[in-house]
Symmetry: C2
Subunit: 377 residues, 2 copies
């Protein structure tokens, strides 16, 4: 089977064996044994998965990292050879790939794990018809909404959670469909696409992007992805100041759980955008104050919590149809190393169960308590 | 000679040989060959130096890292076994050790290099009398003032540069003199000590420190070092919000030259101090805005400079008595990897030469230009 997998991935078999040995390709046990790329290797993305049974080997390629423009001119420059580019909304939820493997439809997180909750939602919202007709394709999209336990957001007028698809790709090669082709195909199955703002001439990008991103920012939304309509060039993302600040506000609550580059890269983004938008002194000061508040206030609030003797934690919830999904999701979080306390499920009128989840932020709690207890830096 | 050095340092000779081989102990060639600890090893501090010639081996121990309190309670807790503690000013310049070695007085930077400029200043300001009487002692102090090429500051009403001594230590063991003994000894030689605010009962620390540090902050000064009067327990530093913000303001101009922990640790300090000072909502907002401005404005200014086609650089200057010191200092900066352009010296009425220095911040310049040129993140 290694030979088949290696061939599909375009790697020499001995290379694949080496990666398995070093656990760069890690074994997953749930809901059945398969393998996932814990790190990207050459052209193979992080989160790429390999299924193998007696009959066949199936690959689901990982979702490629989308590079970020720090200025609008960078977008223009990178697409300068094109006539037009498509501008789509980048939504703030979590990246999911939905694909049929081993005869069933599953939802994969970025890292290549099957999330039982997301899988239940995917089956509810997307169903299996698309995959019966197109077993060779995967849907890449964002799961957003308040009942999303990873990145709960209320900005999208989604009541529970919903999938917004931004890419349809061949699951075994990762090759994407052109933008319009994707939208038409999804329409046929009544599957939602992310919003396409339009296809614009490259010369108009500066004006269009600034206008769109400012408007999105004001609505608390994240930003855009700019695409080659043919999907031959890699897409580029660009985000609003408000979204950057929301990230900082969120992460500084849990300042010790995040890598320092998470904070640093977002702060630097704000510097470049201030200059790129050619802001007045007054606007730049407003941006500085927004940045400062996003950094300091959530951090101080968490420290105050610890001072009162509380732990630092995050509240989230899930809303499921099947009670088993709760246990499976709990096990899933445990495997991710997340320490979470699940409340008792509460049934609502629609035959759904809501479960409140408190995720304990152990590292930030420990560090804060130690410092408040007199530990020196 | 290795045996003698090893004995003085309390290390086995084979260990010292290993450190030399791995270049943890690095050879310095200027102004004459000697060795310095590039990293701390066990009890031996970074910057410890070893001189050896046919006649003898001399050691100058490095200056130990002073740990930082993130809250005032941490200071109290760490000194809870003492009746009283001494509170001294921590000044914002650069840490220098002055000691006599190989028969002459030299000034060492933190890392154990002899700085020719600092040495000239030390000889001018402190002279050699102290060392003639006390060849076994070293003076540890801060060199501050506007003519300081590393950390130019105008807040201390020092016209050019001055040394403020905070520790007198045995140069071969690093053992410090008790606070009062140090002050009296320095007084005898008319050598300046840093300001001693007083010796306070530990119970008063909270009130005293808050008051002193707030006042220092308002004057743009850095903070305090709290010491065991007998210097048996290690001292602890604690700094003002204004000083933290000044650090950020300075470093964000050159955001790519600094480690991300430089920024992160200072931002986290502000969170703890906001809670520690039990600030009103209004005061915390002011702190957040000060923080945001310290981060965003200097960074945006540097990016704007690059956009105008300029390089990002820092201006500093030195003021020397001897023209040779200029060349020696230029060579010293080159050895440190600093790319600096020295203007022609200008003579002033007092027989001194002023030289303007422009330090090119290559990493920040390159990164900023690349991003402005369309590079993706």
């Amino acid at each position: 089977m290694i030979e088949t997998a290696a061939e599909k991935l375009g790697l020499p078999a001995f290379r694949l064996e080496g990666l398995l040995e070093r656990r760069t390709i890690a074994k997953v046990l749930s809901p059945f044994p398969y393998f996932r790329f814990d790190k990207g290797v050459g052209q193979i993305e992080t989160g790429t998965v390999i299924f193998a049974n007696r009959e066949k080997v199936e690959i689901v390629r990982g979702f490629p990292k989308i590079r970020r423009a720090m200025t609008i001119a960078a977008i223009t420059k990178n697409f300068s050879k094109l006539q037009k580019v498509a501008v789509e909304e980048k939504m703030n939820g979590y990246n999911v790939r939905v694909a049929k493997v081993a005869g069933k439809v599953y939802a994969f997180t970025r890292g290549g794990l099957i999330c039982p909750y997301t899988t239940e939602k995917a089956l509810d919202l997307i169903g299996t018809e698309f995959f019966e007709d197109n077993p060779e394709l995967m849907l890449c999209g964002e799961m957003v909404g308040p009942d999303n336990p990873y990145v709960p957001k209320k900005v999208y007028s989604v009541r529970s959670v919903d999938f917004f698809i931004f890419d349809v790709r061949e699951k075994e090669t990762g090759k994407p469909l052109p933008v319009k082709e994707r939208i038409e195909l999804l329409k046929k199955y009544q599957i939602r696409s992310v919003k396409l703002f339009g296809e614009y001439p490259v010369e108009e990008l500066d004006r269009r992007v600034k206008q769109i991103v400012k408007k999105l920012g004001k609505a608390g939304r994240e930003g855009i992805v700019v695409k080659d309509p043919e999907m031959l060039l890699p897409p580029i993302k660009y985000t609003s100041s408000e979204s950057t600040c929301a990230d900082l506000r969120y992460a500084f609550q849990f300042f010790n759980e995040y890598g320092q580059d998470f904070f640093f890269s977002r702060i630097v983004r704000e510097g470049f955008q201030a200059v790129d938008f050619n802001e007045s002194r007054k606007k730049t000061l407003e941006r500085a104050h927004r940045l400062g508040e996003s950094v300091l206030l959530p951090m101080a609030e968490s420290i105050r919590k610890c001072k009162r003797g509380e732990n630092i934690s995050e509240n989230a919830h899930i809303r499921v149809r099947n009670l088993e999904t709760i246990d499976e999701f709990e096990a899933h979080l445990r495997r991710l190393g997340v320490e979470a306390i699940f409340d008792e499920p509460e049934m609502d009128g629609n035959g759904m169960y809501t479960v409140n989840i408190r995720k304990l932020m152990q590292s930030t709690t420990d560090k804060t308590k130690a410092i408040l207890g007199g530990q020196l830096w």
